[in-house]
Amino acid sequence: MVHVIVSVSRFTMIMLMAGYTYYCFAALRQNISEKRQERIYKKQTRLMYGILLNADLVLYLLTRDVRILGLTLCEILLFALTLMIYQKIYDHASKSLVNNMCMLLTVSFIILSRLDLEKAIKQFAYAAAAVVITCFIPILVAKLKVWNKLTYVYGLIGIAALAFVCVAASTTYGAKLSIDIGPVTLQPSEFIKITFIFFTACMLRISTAFPHIVKTTAIAAAHVLILVASRDLGGALIYLVTYLVMLYVATRQPWYMILGILSGALASVAAYALFAHVQDRVIAWRDPLRVIDDQGYQISQSLFAIGSGGWFGAGLGQGMPDKIPVVTTDFVFSAISEELGAVFALCLIFVCISCFLMFFNIAMQIRDRFYKLIALGIGTMYGTQAFLALGGVTKFIPSTGVTLPLVSYGGSSLLSTMILFAIIQGLYVLQVDEGVKNEETEGAGRKQKKRR
């Protein structure tokens, strides 16, 4: 009986996920009525709960661990609370984004419950704390007008925190990216992402004159170089791309972009020549099986998992994702693909793409320059990180050791990503509210332009 449920669930979960993904894009379609959109979001929510219940049922039947049932209940309550906050309290929030955030958390909870229940429980606690902390962020973003005045505060905090970790790490061991504060381990580079975006947006809001750009670039480069010095190349790349995109959109100067890409390329070549760990990543990427005992071990294990799982997956609990090193963080996608199937994994990629598109869409609609740049920065950062994480474990690009936002295990990453999502929600609410105000004050008598 258990076997039947495990086998059937392989297919039902893929169907539920495929349905969810379809609605992600169906809701983005033009010429779709508001009512229909609302219905779609309701369906998405139901599909999400369906996946969670289905997976946790399988996991419970396989392990008979009652903690799974308790965790499931807590997860459902947390999602219900989150959806309520963003539907009832912030009634202008982007429901598509809330759904996607919850969906990515669902996948994270499922795969972590499968891999390591202790970690799943911790991740749930982080998520619950993050929901509580971040539920105030949209209102703070919308009401406080101080955000664009703290330019150098952001810059100073960013550089100081990154430098502190870099120095602390060099005095301890290896590429340590976290610091311990009592029982909590913090990874500051995750939070500095936020101040970095705010810093860049402030600077570019003030002016896009050349001398000012030089100053901005110098401070941004300091962030990136400190990360390189801490051997966090994936992080450095994310910061760099985010800065370049924000600079390009703010200045509309393709030359900045081209120069930035060229210097980035030069820096990559230099990094390849200078650092053995960069060479290792590239060697492993080019032919992992040739160096399987050495540099290629991680990526080979990841690809064994993805390949052996095939299109429909081995089924939850039926694969060997434990063979993959750091499976709960960097290689979580491989475990998902192995057990839930490549089709499910593909859907997950499309959910990430849909998140990215939503971020950019919101950024595009915002009129205020500062907020627009913030939304753009968040979108770029999310897109880059998702791309590096997914591309790295599938051998599309050399692995950079980046986590998949909201899905990988890790409190700092989870909290910082949820803060980014909440900021975007704040900006979205602000933008829609402004629209409403404008309509009320001066909208009368003017012909309404269709945007379709």
Binding site: H92, V249, L289, M364, F396
Partner: protein, 500 residues
């Protein structure tokens, strides 16, 4: 302003994908304003889609190399869900199958026992042969999807896919018998496709009882190496069969036979080293055909000395010495030819007649004659024709592949004439038949000073009036004289193949 109103109108809606190219936005300023956004969005989308495309490609195609890797711990568990498929000959005869005994245990059964031992291999105590080569496909099920779902729901194993080889059961039997009680190997290739038609190696083992006899096989220190597939992994002194390469090098260097003429007195000396012809026979006045046909050691020693040593070696490397063979047959040995520019004369003389330090595998020699037969084009040897599901529906078809033009068509045709001369007027006369025309070269390789431990060689091919062709390499170890062993074996193999 207009834009704000529009947003107000949609205030409870999520934003749409609009403005990607700026058209839908306010034409006056929005069009330009969002162009950079559009570019960045498209670049990211393109990157994501390329990655998605690669992921699909990986799962569909490239992943097989990874799944089938011995480091993949998951392979072992695939057998828990799938009943290992059958291995079949080219006409569907079962060479390996999985039987369920009274206790429900699976037993791998090989109906032909020792005959296909090295070709088909074993899947117990490790793996070899087709069992190893196709391990992954034998453990994969492409049975009808509803059957599979039904099996999975019922908790039953799925039937694995069957692997259909290029092996010809009749010909394999002829090869196995032709080796008789001698150690050695016979490999048969189809020159125009590269298909391995038969592959026999002795000493052999019974794959049905490999587990019971395993300790004996691996601890055996008599040097007989039962588990070694001599056809692909054995390395032998090539003896006179290597004169094919010396002849070819000479023809290349002289751009023709150069009016070659040699008076053989039965022995030939240079630099204080004396070379004898077989049995000290004096062949008298010979042209190049006669020297090759008689397998005249004296003439070929002198030819060897006339060759430029480094281009001689280069030419051998062009003919696949000192490099991995382009064959899809699992592990194969690399043949050796190490003559360099400052080799001394005695070594050159020995090398020219196939002694010295040169070593070849039977597969390599079969590939060379196969390329000559195919007008210079070498087809990559392979032994898996296709993979089919339990109902015989093909799930993967292997096509023959060109490995490269080893020599020009003209050169190949010239070589064909020399190989034919061996059968019409030379040491291979006993291969004359009215059913087929045989071509080839005989050889006796001196393996040690003991004359009774020579290796007997024949490499060549035959074709009949219908254009049906087969290339063969025969090597038999520890015999007294070349022609009496390998040539009759080759004859038996040709007779069997062309009788069909």
């Amino acid at each position: 302003m207009k834009k704000q109103k529009a947003q107000a109108g949609n205030r409870k809606r999520d934003v749409e994908i609009v403005d990607l190219n700026g058209k839908a936005a306010d034409k006056k300023n929005g069009g330009r304003r969002n162009r950079e956004f559009a570019i960045v969005t498209y670049v990211f989308l393109a990157l994501f889609l390329c990655m998605t495309g690669y992921f699909v490609y990986f799962v569909a195609i490239e992943s097989e190399d990874f799944i089938n890797n011995p480091y993949n711990a998951r392979l072992a568990t695939m057998a828990d869900q799938v009943v290992r498929g059958d291995i079949l000959s080219n006409d569907g005869t079962i060479l390996a199958t999985t039987q369920i005994d009274g206790n429900g245990a699976e037993i791998r059964y090989y109906p032909y026992g020792r005959m296909f031992a090295h070709a088909v291999g074993y899947a117990d105590n490790g793996m070899a042969g087709v069992e190893l080569l196709e391990n992954y496909r034998l453990l994969r099920s492409n049975a009808f999807i509803l059957t599979r779902i039904a099996n999975e729901v019922a908790g039953k194993k799925n039937p694995g896919d069957d692997v259909v080889t290029t092996l010809d059961a009749g010909l394999q039997s002829a090869c196995y018998d032709a080796l008789g009680g001698y150690d050695g190997a016979i490999i048969c290739l189809e020159p125009d496709t590269g298909k391995v038609l038969a592959m026999a190696s002795k000493p052999d083992y019974d794959p049905n009882t490999i587990a019971q006899n395993w300790d004996g096989y691996v601890s055996d220190d008599s040097g007989s190496a039962v588990l070694l597939n001599r056809a692909t992994q054995g390395l032998y002194v090539p003896g006179s069969t290597f004169k094919i390469l010396t002849l070819f090098a000479y023809l290349q260097q002289e751009r023709g036979d150069g009016g070659f003429s040699f008076d053989c007195s039965g022995s030939f000396s240079a630099d204080g080293y004396e070379m004898h012809c077989y049995d000290h026979t004096a062949h008298g006045q010979e042209d190049l055909y006669a020297a090759f046909g008689n397998s005249c050691n004296c003439a070929f020693s002198s030819i060897g000395l006339s060759l430029d040593r480094s281009s001689y070696r280069q030419l051998c490397e062009q003919l696949l010495f000192n490099k991995a063979l382009p064959a899809n047959l699992g592990n194969t040995s690399v043949s050796r030819m190490t003559l360099d520019g400052d080799a001394n004369d005695p070594l050159v003389m020995q090398t020219a007649i196939g002694q010295g330090q040169t070593m070849v595998s039977p597969l390599h020699m079969a590939m060379l004659v196969s390329a000559i037969a195919n007008d210079g084009m070498l087809m990559e040897p392979y032994m898996i024709d296709h993979v089919q599901n339990e109902n015989g529906i093909v799930v993967r078809q292997n096509e023959s592949r060109q490995a490269g033009q080893l020599m020009t068509e003209q050169d190949a045709k010239t070589m064909q004439e020399y190989l034919r001369y061996v059968v019409t007027d030379g040491t291979g006369r006993s291969l004359q038949s009215d059913r087929y025309n045989a071509y080839g070269k005989t050889g006796t390789a001196e393996f040690s000073s003991n004359k009774n431990e020579d290796h007997s060689w024949f490499v060549g091919y035959a074709e009949n009036a219908d254009g049906k062709r087969m290339a063969v390499a025969v090597v038999m170890e520890g015999v007294a004289a070349g022609n009496a062993y390998a040539v009759p074996a080759a004859r038996a193999v040709f007779d069997s193949y062309f009788a069909q």
